[in-house]
């Protein structure tokens, strides 16, 4: 780590020690919680810790990308709450910066950074999950506007979002053409008439994501991102970006969770001694640790290429696979070691058992969201190993 990165790390640590709310102290009701999280992101933005590498002209910090990674790792290590506008910061913000017009960037980037406006992404549909190119949401151009009709699902924070990046079909691909032709990306105002948002309860008991219904929603022409038909290209860019850069802070978080699990095992007994002193438990912890550390080594290597100016390539799929594997292994290890206590946890108590129950349940999504494990393998088989197409 370079001296200036070390200095930044110290600075962030001091800021967090002074300012970071502890997650259990956040309000319990979802609305109040989101407000508190907006405030948290805004104060981090004022301190220079959000969009640190984004261009200065749009409110970013104009610093080297590695600095944001240093900041994100410290936030994760301190157990600070995650930024509520994660979709804007990790997914659609980078796409706006890369593909947006001057006017779109001026309008949208600053409120993404300070969480004044939360973003969501409308990609998946009930009939278009892994097979994203089969999406049916349509946008028909009429009188200088797009008329949007369709249904989206798995829309994280849709109920709090002001804007949604929607993939919609604007053209038929044409006979015999690949189906990802004719898909466009629209910036949709969630306050528009005809937008209906229905939160869905997840297996963790939270309602982080929603279904979206568009019923003849009018979208101004200038809200098209890049050109008609560029939607697929933009979606692949955003997903790759998310896979490529999110792994390092996630890895740090997994490492803190591993220590947390080990710490808890010091309190649990097995055959008259602490479970932490049991050789079998120690090996399980070591195996979880190996997965987490190798994720770091591999992500650093691939992110290194990205930071050196290269694109986030298909190797981000390797990182995604390792990330899901590490997270799921850690959670499964906790389940095995904590035993029945975890299954009898009372979520209201917010104790260690409840934490691991939620973490275990959530970990099952790690090999599904952002492109399933099987899709990542397909990407590697096609683009890295150049095996024959199916």
């Amino acid at each position: 780590m370079a001296p200036e990165e070390r200095r930044l790390r110290e600075e962030v640590r001091a800021f967090l020690a002074e300012n970071a709310p502890s997650p259990p102290d956040l309000p319990r009701s979802l609305d109040a919680r989101i407000e508190a999280l907006r405030g948290w992101q805004a104060s981090c933005y004022r301190a220079g810790y959000v969009g640190r590498a984004w261009p200065r002209e749009f409110g970013g910090g104009g610093r080297a990308p590695v600095e944001q990674i240093v900041v994100d790792q410290e936030l994760a290590a301190a157990g600070a709450p995650e930024f509520v506008n994660v979709v804007g910061l990790d997914v659609l913000g980078p796409s706006l910066l890369r593909f947006g017009t001057e006017q779109q960037r001026q309008r949208h980037i600053p409120p993404i950074l300070d969480a004044r406006e939360i973003w969501c992404q409308g990609f998946s549909e009930p009939e278009a999950g892994s097979d994203l190119a089969s999406l049916r949401t349509r946008a028909v151009e009429r009188d200088g506007r797009f008329v949007l009709t369709g249904q989206k699902t798995w829309v994280s924070w849709g109920q709090f979002a002001r804007w949604c990046g929607v993939l919609a079909r604007t053209e038929d691909p044409g006979h015999g053409q690949p189906r990802h032709r004719g898909i466009s990306m629209l910036i949709v105002d969630m306050n528009s008439p005809g937008v209906d948002v229905r939160p869905m309860t997840q297996i963790t008991g939270h309602a982080e994501f929603c279904e979206l219904f568009f019923d003849d929603v009018l979208v101004p022409e200038q809200n098209l991102l890049s050109n008609r038909g560029d939607g697929w290209k933009i979606a692949m860019y955003t997903l790759g970006h998310e896979r490529g850069t999110a792994a390092l802070p996630r890895q740090v978080k997994l490492r803190t969770w591993l220590d947390r699990l080990a710490f808890t095992l010091g309190d649990r007994a097995l055959d008259g001694r602490a479970l932490l002193d049991d050789p079998g438990a120690q090996v399980s912890l070591a195996q979880a640790m190996i997965g987490i550390e190798v994720l770091r080594y591999h992500a650093q290597r691939t992110v290194g290429e990205f930071l050196a100016g290269g694109a986030v390539g298909p190797d981000s799929s390797s990182v995604k696979l390792l990330m899901a594997e590490a997270e799921q292994r850690l959670a499964a290890t906790a389940v095995e070691l904590l035993g029945p206590a975890m299954e009898q946890a009372d979520p209201a108590k917010q104790d260690e058992d409840a934490f691991w129950e939620e973490t275990y349940l959530y970990s099952r999504a790690a090999s599904v969201y952002g492109g399933t494990r099987q899709i990542q393998r397909n990407i590697i088989a096609d683009r890295v190993l150049t095996l024959p197409q199916e």
């Binding site: 220590d259 710490f263 010091g266 912890l285 591999h298 099987q374 393998r377 024959p388 199916e390």
Partner: protein
Amino acid sequence: MELELTEEQSWISESIDTLLSREWVTPQDVADASPERRRQTWTALVEFGSFGIKKDGEDGLGAVELCLIARSLGSHLASVPFLGSAAVRLALAPQARSLPAEIAALLSSHDPIGIALLEAGSGWTVERAGTRLVRGRDGLEIRGEKVAIEQLQAAGQLVVVATLDGAPALAMTPAGAAGLTRQRQRCFDETVPMETARFDAVPVPSAGVLGGPEARTVLRRLMTAGSLLAAAEAVGAAGHILDLACRYAGERRQFGRTIGSFQALRHILADAYVRQQSGWSAVRYAAAALDDGDPEAAQAASIAKAYVSRGAREVAHSAMQVFGGIAFTAEHPAHRFLRRIGVRAQQFGDAAHHERRLGRELAERVSQARAALSSPVLAEAFPA
């Protein structure tokens, strides 16, 4: 930490590959390579400068460069006394100035070095060797028996891990010393020749003995360096068999299709690719940590060795599954890779050994942190 290869490192990697393509045989022929061919390959490696190892404050090769060389050797299944020669020098280099004369001399020589480490029936916990250094009439003598000494027939010098007055010590002896009885031993990979050695009061001059706290430091570093070099070689071998399997999957036809178009095989190969690539990331990270004098280098090496020991084997198994029956014939090179990976997976500690160690250390760290939190001073600072 810088994980990208420098231009010089990329050049080393490519040059070694070119050198081995020129000097060494194809994977099909490794078991039949003549002794002359082996010597010639070794000489070419030495002449290339493979042992210009960095000492205190000097320029030269470090762990990253030596792991790159080991990776190429694994990829080509070369049969040369590299692992011991490189591991011993990497272990000694930081102490170059304070070593006994004969041991220090290893650093300026290019002699192949063998390591006498394992003993029959003992595991990889090597700090309590049964082989002892005892005081004879004319000074110290080595007494004991060692097994699985790689490339002893090629080695000029032998570094023996022993105990002296109950503490770990290292002794150096010529491979042909009087009182040393050697016997060829079976090895899972016949291109990694192994021997046993019995030491019947083999005399060693005091300039050839390293004892005291320094011996423990060097021995630990030897295990770290050896783990990494063995892992690097396994990663190289795994990379090559995976390439062959991908090529085969792109050519072989069944059911009227190229078999690489079947998702069942595409996914096996994609997973193997991730395992092989991330294995190299782990080795490279740990090697850079060792070069930087990072206090966590030994832990990183254990992680890399545990991960690669399982992962490289997994890659070989996957590749063989893709080849199908043909990989079960002795003529096909698949088993050569499998065997090499199997041997490197064991050396300097298999996955289970390193996992036990990592788990124990993690538990100790956490127990100390817990104890610190329950100390009266801290309890006052952080009341419950």
